[in-house]
């Protein structure tokens, strides 16, 4: 369980987050959406302890009951893995060496072929020996995803449910691989883990999210199920343009850019 209350954050004197409060349950996918500069990535960085929250009264930020600001990184790493928007690697490590970093940080045993299997799972079969620098941007993103999956290889750990925090995991991927990432997130949640991710694509959000957090100007404008948050009024208010949420007969909500005229 991720519990957040009265979470505010300032960087260089500028308030970026205002009194955020919500909770995310294991077994669910929580999507953070919102316009550019609304604080999605900042919120994710605060949730992972990367940037300290303002110590205001009532602040609460805990994961599986651990106060994130006070828990040793080594302990957190055993049940939580974090994927950044993009990762620069300093030296010519191979894909397998990158994935191994996640393997070493996570907890629990691992099958000897886990690295190869994970690389195959992100559609890079047999690429373990290739140097990271020679992959394309989208391939690099998938290598990093495999590393994160290696770290969170158990959706349920001895420390409680495992957690994936993903910052725009589909940003540099083609549509096929976007769906692949969504499938991976779904099966992690279905197996008992928790997923919190920043998404830009409202259609993907509608497709996979169990809970949606809509950010606007550093505040949580709305939270709830897809049908509660992805509404004409709320999206229009957040994104500053008229948006009509459509509904195809056989599936969930979908959004046409043309309907924003």
């Amino acid at each position: 369980m991720l519990e957040v209350a009265q979470l505010s954050l300032a960087l260089s004197g500028r308030r970026l987050l205002h009194e955020i409060g919500f909770s995310a349950r294991p077994g669910q996918i929580t999507a953070i959406i919102g316009p550019n500069g609304s604080g999605k990535t900042t919120l994710l960085r605060a949730l992972t302890g990367e940037v300290p929250a303002l110590p205001l009264p009532g602040l609460r930020l805990s994961l599986n009951g651990h106060d994130i600001a006070r828990t040793k990184p080594r302990i957190l790493a055993q049940f939580r893995a974090v994927l950044a928007q993009s990762t620069q690697v300093a030296f010519p490590y191979t894909a397998a060496e990158i994935v191994r970093l996640g393997l070493d940080a996570g907890s629990g045993g691992a099958a000897p072929d886990l690295i190869d299997r994970l690389l195959a799972e992100v559609d890079l079969p047999g690429a373990g020996g290739r140097p990271y620098h020679q992959f394309s941007g989208g391939e690099q993103a998938r290598v990093q995803l495999a590393r994160v999956l290696a770290q969170a290889r158990q959706p349920v750990t001895p420390e409680g449910p495992g957690w994936l925090f993903l910052d725009e995991p589909v940003a540099s991927l083609d549509i096929g691989h976007q769906l692949m990432v969504m499938r991976i997130a779904r099966s992690f949640a279905d197996a008992g883990g928790g997923v919190v991710m920043v998404l830009h694509d409202l259609n993907l959000t509608a497709m996979v999210a169990d809970q949606v957090l809509l950010m606007h100007a550093g505040r949580l404008l709305a939270q709830g199920r897809v049908d509660q948050v992805l509404t004409d009024a709320l999206l229009g208010q957040a994104f500053g343009c008229p948006i009509r949420v459509g509904r195809a007969p056989a599936s969930g909500p979908w959004i046409l850019p043309q309907s924003a005229a």
Binding site: R45, T48, G49, E50, K72, P73, R74, I75, L76, A77, Q78, R80, A81, V82, A84, T87, Q88, V89, A90, F91, P92, Y93, T94, E97, I98, L101, G102, D104, A105, G128, G129, R130, P131, H133, Q134, Q151
Partner: protein, 359 residues
């Protein structure tokens, strides 16, 4: 309608795996290399004493007095000092490069070497002003000690400058290091301007680096700094590997980033300061050795750190052998040899492997 042939998607030429030897094999080869270079080095020297004459003495068999003195008081301490200094310089280079996530970081670049140099020059030029009692007490240890303090001072100052609210900015650390190196260099220049002729010659030789004047005492003075550094270094390997992905990612991989960086800074200062103190400015070992190993054996610090120490030691012993024999019975400062060997190798690496190293 005409169907245009689609251009064939260019297959990246290096989609094949890197042909890398296993870490254990590389380490084994490096140990053999160091052993071989050491044995040859023991048999090389101005006295013309051959290996066949010297080896039996190592195993306690009788040698004449002269050969015994040459072996135990000249060649062996010099070999040991070469191994220790070479290992320290290469290890500090590998640590700093990992810490700064930059294959071009080097103790010489971030000012640690310049700080140590300033300390040494201060001691050489102003040492004569010390009261005789203190001068007698410090004796030959004055210059090395001052060099070590200078290196440590720069490292601590650098760390303080670049750290805000517990977070160290690597960019700030690098840039502040360049500024500090320039400042230490300027201060050194002023001191050199003040120096007399005899001091100038001392300075020149010290700044070019040399293993001449090696003794067990000198080695003993450096070991209390270098041994802890060597012992602590392997504990940094996992953290440095994670840090290659960035500070935030290292944190999420379970590394206490600030503590790890602080330890890396201290280990580097100790190893560099001690090495510069006993041998002067020996360049290029710290930058060429880890670079070569990363290219041919891989960047994993768990292997890279010990292998850097081994290759650095072997390379410095070999360079010292060249320095001693090329103009025998005189000898070149070893810094000239390492620069002549190291600079072209470094350029070659840069030019030939540009795409691979991400430079």
């Amino acid at each position: 309608m005409v169907a245009l042939p689609l251009p064939r998607r260019p297959r990246p030429q290096a989609s094949r795996s890197l042909p890398r030897p296993t870490p254990r094999l590389v380490t084994l080869l490096l140990v053999l290399l160091l052993l071989a270079v050491s044995v040859i080095s023991l048999g090389t020297g101005a006295a013309g004493l051959r290996l066949t004459e010297i080896l039996p003495a190592l195993f306690g068999e009788g040698l004449d007095r002269r050969a015994e003195v040459i072996l135990w008081d000249i060649r062996l301490p010099r070999l040991a000092l070469g191994i220790v200094v070479g290992a320290s310089l290469a290890l500090s280079g590998a640590l700093l490069q990992g810490l700064f996530r930059n294959p071009l970081a080097d103790p010489g670049i971030v000012g640690v070497g310049a700080g140590a140099g300033l300390g040494a020059v201060l001691a050489i030029v102003l040492g004569g002003l010390l009261p005789p009692a203190i001068a007698a007490w410090t004796g030959l240890h004055l210059v090395p000690f001052a060099a070590f303090l200078g290196g440590l001072g720069v490292t601590l100052l650098l760390y303080r400058l670049a750290t805000r609210g517990g977070q160290t900015s690597v960019a700030l650390l690098l840039l502040a290091g360049i500024a500090l190196a320039a400042f230490a260099g300027a201060a050194t220049g002023i001191l050199i301007y003040m120096a007399d002729d005899r001091q100038l010659r001392d300075l020149t030789f010290w700044s070019m680096g040399s293993l001449a004047g090696a003794s067990w005492a000198k080695l003993g003075g450096a070991l209390p700094l270098i041994l802890p550094a060597m012992i602590a270094a392997p504990f940094l390997a996992r953290g440095l590997n994670a840090l290659a992905l960035g500070e935030a990612q290292a944190l999420h991989l379970g590394i206490r980033v600030q503590a790890m960086k602080r330890l890396a800074v201290f280990v580097t200062a100790a190893a560099t300061g001690a090495a510069v103190a006993v041998s002067g400015g020996i360049g290029f070992i710290g930058i060429v050795v880890p670079h070569l190993l990363r290219l041919f054996a891989g960047p994993d610090h768990r292997a890279l750190l010990p292998q850097s120490a081994l290759l650095g030691a072997a390379l410095l012993v070999a360079a010292d052998m060249i320095a001693r024999s090329i103009v025998a019975p005189a000898e070149l400062p070893i810094g000239i040899v390492t620069a002549c060997l190291g600079a072209p190798v470094f350029l070659w690496i840069l030019l030939g492997r540009r795409g691979l190293t991400g430079l």
